[in-house]
């Protein structure tokens, strides 16, 4: 604002007016609470008074057997949840987008609309719908498997500690495949025709055209999708809460950081709520996400080559 010639450049109040509402709401409702969380993690409540304990809560979370078991379990599960999402959701999304973008395909709009529908449904619906379908009581899943002669494959997947987490992760894939599909579809559309035509002149068509020409061009979009998946997965809570409850059963096999945070902060059944430890877990999650985002920004995004048309 302070330009060297004040008489020609008076204070430009409109800049402040344009910025103020966003900055005020964002600071009050987002930044201050986040800072408050970081702060709360450094205290312990004794007799309703806050006592500063430094990093004692963190050493408790990572080292005390009462806490660390749950924490590492939740973190490990969260990584598996993320890996399944990355390995299944994004390739399917890219493949669907590649098919949708093929020229002269009919019924494009129909497919796009239909495949995006699960994404608009709430977690509550998605969780219950799949719980019902996979329920051994109702028998839709067993019946369907019987139709293709694989009845013996059926197991109560959501109730089995070995399969439950992967099953929930696949449900999440089913729900969100529309987002990578849409973003990649948009990226594919933005590749200019001249590039594709030049490739065809050189005899690069079909699959090899996708791998050699289109895929390198959409890599930045794939990067964005990966980081969105990472941040989303490490904040996931709703689907597990709805499908498996706050205890993330069976036997904590689907417990991820979000459900662990919820149980710790608000308490559940016999366990009392503990805001300080809750804030500690939230801070740990914050750290994990920050590390992930930094790895992406400085390790991966810089190496991605961008092409300008």
């Amino acid at each position: 604002m302070a330009e060297p010639t004040p008489e020609r450049r008076p204070v430009r109040w409109h800049i402040a007016v344009f910025l103020a509402p966003a900055v005020i709401v964002y600071t009050l409702v987002m930044i201050l609470p986040l800072a408050g969380t970081l702060d709360l993690a450094l205290y312990r409540t004794v007799d309703k008074a806050q006592h500063f304990v430094g990093i004692a809560n963190f050493s408790k979370l990572f080292g005390d057997p009462n806490w660390s078991g749950h924490f590492w379990n939740a973190l490990g599960n969260n990584f598996w949840f993320f890996i399944v999402n990355m390995a299944v959701q994004n390739p399917i999304g890219i493949a669907l987008a590649a098919l949708l973008s093929s020229p002269r395909l009919r019924m494009k709009t129909f497919y796009r609309t239909a495949i995006f529908i699960p994404t608009i449904l709430s977690f509550v619906i998605v969780g219950f719908v799949w719980k019902l379908i996979l329920s051994p009581l109702w028998g839709i899943a067993p019946d369907l498997l019987k139709m293709v002669g694989l009845r013996h494959w059926f197991a109560p997947w959501l109730g089995d500690p070995h399969y439950a987490l992967t099953t929930v992760a696949l449900i999440s894939v089913w729900q969100f495949v529309g987002i990578p599909m849409m973003l990649i579809y948009a990226a594919l559309l933005s590749i200019p025709d001249e590039v594709i035509e030049a490739a065809e002149m050189d005899g690069v068509t079909g699959m090899s055209q996708f791998w050699k020409i289109k895929l390198p061009l959409i890599l930045p979009s794939i990067g964005i999708i990966s980081i969105l998946t990472f941040v989303g997965n490490f904040n996931a809570f709703d689907l597990i809460y709805v499908a498996q409850g706050a205890l993330a059963g069976p036997d904590y096999s689907t417990d991820i950081l979000g459900t662990f945070l919820y149980r710790t902060f608000f308490g559940f059944q016999l366990q009392l709520g503990d805001p300080n430890m809750g804030a500690t877990i939230a801070t740990a999650m914050f750290g994990i996400i920050l590390v992930g985002v930094c790895i992406y920004l400085f390790g991966i995004q810089r190496r991605l080559r961008r092409y300008q048309f």
Partner: protein
């Protein structure tokens, strides 16, 4: 377009794959909706059959509508989503305009500060948000949710919109200035209409998580009068675990309004997303 790009076997294969995936995407919704209109015996006897005159029964819907105030929940969700969306778009566009249009000290820093929220989920501040809402007596009000969702949506909105606004020609804005338009008029009458596709993109990505959120309604506004559809359906279904008619009916009631809204707006939404990314 050259003729080498399509062949019949390839397009048949493409349709086969897309159709298979469409079935996977829609099957669960289809199963729930058809079974919600069947009698209890038919639900268990033939879960995959369409309701016939013999098995048609709306008992589930009657139970649900007698018990819970679904209309109120729906109204709450609609108010929260629409008002938050309005403020996210308005405040986000204003901030984006300030950041992209004017050169001032601290511009970069302000941009980074606002972008911080894209990476850090607001959920991690829940502990302090709840304390703040309790201190200001906003717990169990829709305003609490609106404030949180507005703050949650602003970072991404500002970021995307400022990228777009950078691409609007300076000549146009300067022409407006020469004609004596104020900076506010330039923003509202020249710039805003031009970034409409980007606004649609932002609207989609802001709206879906707000409508579907279970976390903040559960924590900030669990009272009967402020329940959202998502929370209402969640609690409601819990009460009827064994009444399959009611469970299926409440699921259908939660699905259908969103589905109808989506189908009405899907063309604009999809155009917004694709236009947004294409620029």
């Amino acid at each position: 377009m050259s003729q080498a790009r399509t062949s019949i076997p390839r397009s048949v294969a493409a349709h086969a794959v897309l159709l298979t995936y469409t079935v996977i995407a829609l099957f669960p919704v289809f199963v729930i909706v058809i079974n919600s209109m069947k009698s209890r015996r038919a639900i268990f006897g033939h879960p995959l059959a369409l309701p016939s005159t013999k098995t048609f029964d709306l008992i589930g819907f009657r139970t649900v509508l007698q018990q819970g105030d679904f209309l109120l929940y729906f109204q709450n969700s609609l108010i929260v989503t629409v008002v938050s969306l309005f403020f996210v778009l308005l405040f986000g566009a204003m901030a984006a305009f300030a950041l992209s249009e004017y050169r001032f000290k601290g511009n970069m820093l302000m941009g980074l500060y606002l972008a911080l929220g894209i990476m850090i989920p607001i959920r991690l501040g829940t502990v302090a948000i709840l304390q703040m809402m309790a201190a200001t007596h906003l717990v169990n009000t829709l305003l609490a949710l609106i404030l949180v969702y507005t703050a949650q949506g602003l970072p991404l909105a500002t970021f995307i919109l400022s990228e777009f606004m950078k691409s609007i020609s300076d000549d146009l804005k300067n022409a407006g200035r020469i004609d004596g338009l104020s900076e506010y008029r330039i923003f509202f009458t020249l710039v805003l209409p031009l970034v409409r596709p980007a606004m649609a993109t932002v609207a989609v990505f802001t709206m879906i998580p707000i409508w579907n959120d279970l976390w903040f309604p559960l924590i900030l506004a669990p009272a009967e009068a402020t329940k959202t559809v998502t929370l209402g359906a969640q609690m409601f279904i819990g009460q009827f675990v064994t009444d399959w008619n009611a469970v299926l009916a409440s699921l259908s009631l939660a699905i259908l309004p969103v589905l109808v809204l989506y189908l009405v707006f899907s063309r604009q939404l999809i155009r917004g997303i694709t236009a947004g990314a294409v620029k």
